[in-house]
Symmetry: C3
Subunit: 350 residues, 3 copies
């Protein structure tokens, strides 16, 4: 792929100075770029490189005044750094879109069906009756179990495992190593102290536009579905237990965990390492601070909580501050005890 | 596989109404099932579908009184929902048992030995001198290191990694992405502030009937064995450090962690995200609440603890409640100080 | 590989008794070892086995006085146990070094380059333009994305995923299932409550001598690099967010997490399950206790903190102790209130 300075200017809404026909095919740092590369100059400290760089096109800030002639074509924008980042990101998106076909060896069962523009990486496994939509990219070493359905435009990163019968919506991204649909943690205690496995025959439904981080785990439902509603964003290493529902546009930060059958509303924000017990519900718009332990339902929308056990954010902060002052409080209490003792003694002496 | 209404009645201990020879080969919802499918009716709201369904066999509740003739064969049981779940679970078990042979490509070293009825999925790796028992199912992309021994009837889900020399008992299930036998975290501090790796030459022993969730990590011992005793159940994303022993029938919920050389007794219950420091022991039957941080040995069996640092459950709850009331306590203290100050002032004035 | 008693003595700095030419090729326990095996005797309880063992060479303690003749060649050292461990570890190292070549099938792109003595396990994936140094061992099912650079002497365990453009230094070990370079968790909130992905176009740089445990996740930077400085040791299941810098020789225990853009100094020790918020800095030599929640920068080097929110270790311990005594404090407060009330009543009665 090659782009002219003029094409780049259109993509990032900039103005060309110099030869608009100059072509670039890759990216480089201004201090090391070669001919045919695109660079940018954001930090004034590096301005000298602008006059010596071999880059064919350089993105610069609108307000930069040239002190010498420049051989590269320039593209001026308000913020060179962010324009360059935008370009790089579009470029990577384009490269992902262009990934198509099957790398060898991969395993695709005869009964699986696929849309247009699908990529199946080497050592990826596609089970029986799997249905894969258009433009889905399945990276190497991923595992897609029997009867799984994956909607259009999903990206399944390396080593993701999706157990049988799960449903993935459109535009879902799942990062490396995450596991969708492992058995819920259900064991019935027996009289002899042992545990008998409760069959986990439900599935996981991940709706449209969800993003799931790396090495996260989302268990299948005992019966029915564990559901991640559309637009939810889940970070790395989070745990979602069986029969949980995570609401629309809810955000869960890394290493947080939600226990079985809990229902989390829409637009909830859950901080890192927070834990939520099972069988409760969390109202829409709630904010759960990092490391909190939520042990009761939150019924009022937009409530903020913190602490373990978690309670109302403002009171909790006040209690936490007082906790730190406990040595001082204890000292004040002791002094009072002395004074009162003295007062009592005097009274008796009266 | 096809089953008659009569056979299904035997499996779930029910009574047939209608043609006991009707055959089914798959499952469906009562509102959409086709001929040759098995459905169930539990929720009275859906009763109308019973009279129109194309399903060949329907499981219904004992006490349901038919208002119209039904073309499907019926199987009556006390709880249609749970009978259907049982059937579905048995069916999946059967399907797992029927998985045998090797998918291509997989890697099995010449020196590995296998029992009867073993399944090796595509892209699974079986190292040198590995011994695999009867009816073991190793799913795609799993890695079994050199000299590993796996007992009969184990299920090793996709992408599980078992390092060299580990021992897995009979009837063990390990979910996707879990790592057994990675190096313990042992580094000796050096004079210059750097760390020198302490060789981790032990292994992990997982006894019979253990279940391990997804993306969990169990480190090999420095010397000797990290041991998971029979019947223990470990949830997703848990961490078990080197030389730990987890007792018989002990249950550990998601994201909990146990530090090195700690010995956990039998029938202990450890809540989610709890942490236990190294080199301590936890008495049989202890209950460790979610998010607790256990920093000392628990010597009395059946002790319940909570908090971080964790202590006796009942006192801890009382302290936690008072913590929340700290603003109130502080106010009471301030009022007392005022009153005593006043009393003192009056006394001086006397 | 076969070693003589004399060669073993050289390796562990011991003295031979008996035939220095006796050869061993593997290891065994003294009670079960066969001819051609090396055993050790450390525990005096097992001394009887020394006189009956079939092992060809036995490592024993310097101070052991033989009560009977021994047919095995003996190698005397100050500590037989640790000498045996050293040998076993050297042996495993040697075996790892001897792993070379490519197992079949593996996927190596044409544009990848490799040094000497490299091992590529079955089902490993090596992307475009990847550069792999000398003596690098890449185990089965690992994924190395496009443009990744891996320095000499690295060990990449099974199922590790390294996303495109990341840089791994020399002598780095990464344990099974860890993910390096997944997208940072960056989403810009939109007016309608949804979130728009912020492109994550940076990478991860892991410097020389770093060890990373199993199933850990290290996200790529939004722009620039997430950096793990030389000599750092990261345990299992830890989370390092985008644009974080982990300092030289810093140690992070299992399940701890560091949020985005935080800069952790050198020689810091972070306990298990600790969490550190984003956009702060932690001074060199700080000690962060297990399960702590660090919400503010630590500016003074060598500070120890604990608690959630974390503060100064000594005060925090005092506050924690007082927290446990809150029921007692509350009782004292109530008693004081009674007494003061009484004093006030008496005063009014005056």
């Amino acid at each position: 792929m090659q782009f002219s300075a003029a094409q780049i200017a259109v993509l990032i809404n900039g103005k060309v100075e110099g030869d608009p026909q100059k072509l670039v095919g890759s990216f480089g740092k201004i201090e090391e770029a070669a001919a045919g590369q695109l660079a940018f100059l954001a930090n004034p400290k590096y301005e000298d490189y602008l006059y010596t760089t071999a880059a064919s096109v350089v993105i610069i800030n609108d307000n930069l005044e040239l002190r010498q002639p420049v051989s590269a074509a320039l593209v001026r924008v308000p913020d060179a750094y962010s324009a360059f980042a935008t370009l790089l990101s579009k470029y990577q998106e384009l490269k992902t879109q262009q990934l198509t076909g099957r790398q060898d060896p991969s395993y695709v069962s005869d009964s699986a069906t696929m849309g247009e523009g699908v990529f199946i990486g080497a050592f990826a496994y596609i089970g029986e009756q799997v249905k894969i939509g258009n433009q889905v990219k399945i990276f190497p070493n991923a595992f897609i179990g029997n009867n799984v359905v994956i909607g259009d435009n999903c990206i399944i990163h390396p080593g993701v495992r999706i157990y049988h019968d799960c449903r993935i919506g459109r535009g879902v991204t799942i990062h490396a190593g995450s596991v969708i649909g492992s058995d819920g943690f259900g064991f019935a205690p027996q009289a002899d102290g042992s545990f008998k496995k409760v069959p986990q025959i439900g599935n996981v439904v991940v709706e449209d536009g969800v993003e799931i981080g790396a090495n996260a785990t989302i268990d299948r439902a005992t019966i029915g579905s564990t559901i991640i509603r559309s637009g939810a964003k889940l970070d790395n290493l989070i745990q979602v237990a069986h029969n949980v529902e995570v609401g629309h546009n809810t955000v869960i930060a890394a290493q947080a965990g939600v226990s079985g059958s809990t229902k989390i509303g829409s637009n909830v924000m859950i901080g890192g390492q927070a834990g939520i017990v099972g069988h409760i519900s969390i109202a829409d718009g709630s904010k759960i601070n990092a490391q909190s332990g939520v042990s009761k339902s939150i019924k009022t929308p937009n409530t903020a909580v913190t602490g373990s056990p978690a309670f109302d954010y403002t009171s909790a902060l006040r209690s936490q501050a007082l906790s730190r002052n406990l040595p001082d409080m204890e000292k004040r209490l002791k002094e009072l005890e002395q004074l009162v003792k003295q007062l009592l003694a005097e009274r008796i002496n009266l």
